[in-house]
Structure formats: C-alpha cells, structure tokens
C-alpha cells in the first residue's frame, strides 16, 4: 500500500496510454492512414479550421474582457484592445499553415500508386522533408494547445469566481502591513 502511494500515477497513465495508442496504430495502420487522408481531403478544410480557430479566439478575448472600449479612451488606451483584437489572426494562421504543410508532408510520405503520389516538395531531399515535418508538427502542436486552452477557458464556466479588487488609500487602512505569505 505504501509502495502504491509512492507511484506517480499521472506518468503511469501516460506510459500506458502511449503504449496502447502505439499498439493500436500498429494494428490498424492502414485504416489510420485512410482516416488521415480522408481528413485532409475535407473540402475547404483550411477555411473551416481557420474560421473555427478565429471565432474561438475572438470569443475567448471577449470573455476575458480584453476588448474594452469606452467613449473617453485615450489613444494609448484605445490601441491596446485594437492590438489585442488584431492578434486574433495569429493562432488561425498558424493552424492553417500547419495543416497545409502537414498535408504536403503526409502525401509525399505515404502517397502510392493506389491514391497517387503527390510531390508537394519536389525540390527537397528526404531529410529536408523530415525537417519540414518536424517544424510542421511543432506548429501544429502549439496552435492546437493554444486552441484547446481557449476552448476550455471559453466554454467552461469558471470553477472559481474572480472578484474585483478596489484600491484603498493609506489613510483608510486599519491595521499594520502583514508579513508576506507563501
């Protein structure tokens, strides 16, 4: 029992999950390649993915109240939410770019006579395409993680309610400065 308490279950589940997923991928490799191909062949995939990402990012900014406007704003105060509003294009563009690159790398790597070899990168050697694949995977990863965080923060109600803080002038303070808590 004491031994079980010492086990870091989070990592145990990750090892088991990856092993299981890897075994499934090995067993059903043909079906998975077909599923990925079907995914990349969705009509207007880039527009759909980019549109969904843009909508989620804007909604997230609205929920987090990063887009605050008032009639008495100074130019500097007005610039901050405008810059924030414009930054919403970053995540969708990264996602669309990584989907396009992944599609090219996938077709070049897995394409055969049955569904046609398409060379998206005809002037690149094997190892160059590998590096494109690695960068694509990284771009895909960061854009998906960002998107997941936005979805989580936008769709789920906060488990904790955040309260508004009001400053107090020194003359209204009752009591002494406490020691820092940590």
């Amino acid at each position: 029992m004491r031994f079980l308490n010492r086990i870091d279950w989070k990592y145990v589940w990750i090892i088991l999950g990856l092993s299981f997923a890897s075994a499934l991928t090995y067993k059903f490799s043909g079906e998975i390649i077909t599923a990925i191909k079907t995914f990349f062949e969705i009509r207007d995939l880039n527009i759909i993915a980019g549109g969904i990402a843009a909508i989620i990012t804007i909604t997230h900014k609205i929920k987090k109240r990063r887009l605050k406007f008032s009639p008495s704003m100074s130019f500097t105060a007005f610039r901050i939410p405008i810059e924030d509003l414009m930054s919403f294009v970053g995540n969708p563009i990264t996602l669309v770019c990584s989907i396009s690159l992944a599609k090219g790398v996938f077709y070049q790597a897995w394409g055969d006579e049955t569904w046609g070899s398409v060379y998206y990168f005809p002037h690149f050697k094997g190892w160059e395409v590998t590096f494109i694949g690695i960068v694509t995977a990284y771009l895909f990863f960061i854009s998906l993680m960002d998107l997941l965080r936005h979805v989580k923060e936008t769709l789920l109600r906060n488990a904790v309610v955040e309260e508004h803080v009001t400053p107090i002038s020194d003359s209204d303070v009752i009591g002494e400065i406490p020691k820092p808590l940590n």
Binding site: F141, T166, P180
Partner: protein
Amino acid sequence: MKLYVHDKNTKVKSYLDIVAPTRGELARTIGSGWFSLLGNQYHVHEVIAESSENNLTAGAIVGGIIGLIGGPLGVIIGGSLGGALGNESDKGEANKVHRFNSSSI
C-alpha cells in the same frame, strides 16, 4: 497563474480578477499596497499565487495524435515530446508562482 486571498471571515479562497508577476507589480497595478475585496481589507502581502495549468496530459495526447502521421513510432515520439513540452510549460508556471510567493514590497 491565479492570485487569491483567504477570506477573513470564512477562510475560503477568494480569487483576484488581476494577475501580476510580483507583489510589487500587483501593488502598482492596483494603485496601492492595500485593497478591498468583498468588503474586507487586504495587503498585497496576503495575496498568494497558485498554478492553474496542467499541460502534461494534454501535451501528450495532442503530441500523440499529431504523431499518428508517423505510425506507431510517431505516436510514441509525438506523445513523449508533447508531454515533455507540456511538462516544461507547467514548470515555467511553477517558477512564476514561486517568484510571486517569495516577493514582497
């Protein structure tokens, strides 16, 4: 990272609607070292930071899904790298929490 104080009456955590890297920066953002929250007075020294991220599992899952393109080995490599990146992000958050909690004005 989230900032909270213990409610002076109920001892329950009350979360602030702002975030700052240190207590000094928090005081500057609020405009004073003292502030009022739910009718009670607090000093920024009473504010505690806690981590609000868990990217390890999400990173491993997303990395594993991306790795599907590379077959069984791709799943293992993608999942491991995704988990490592997520874990690194969690550590960065833990460092930010430590920095805030060890700061004072």
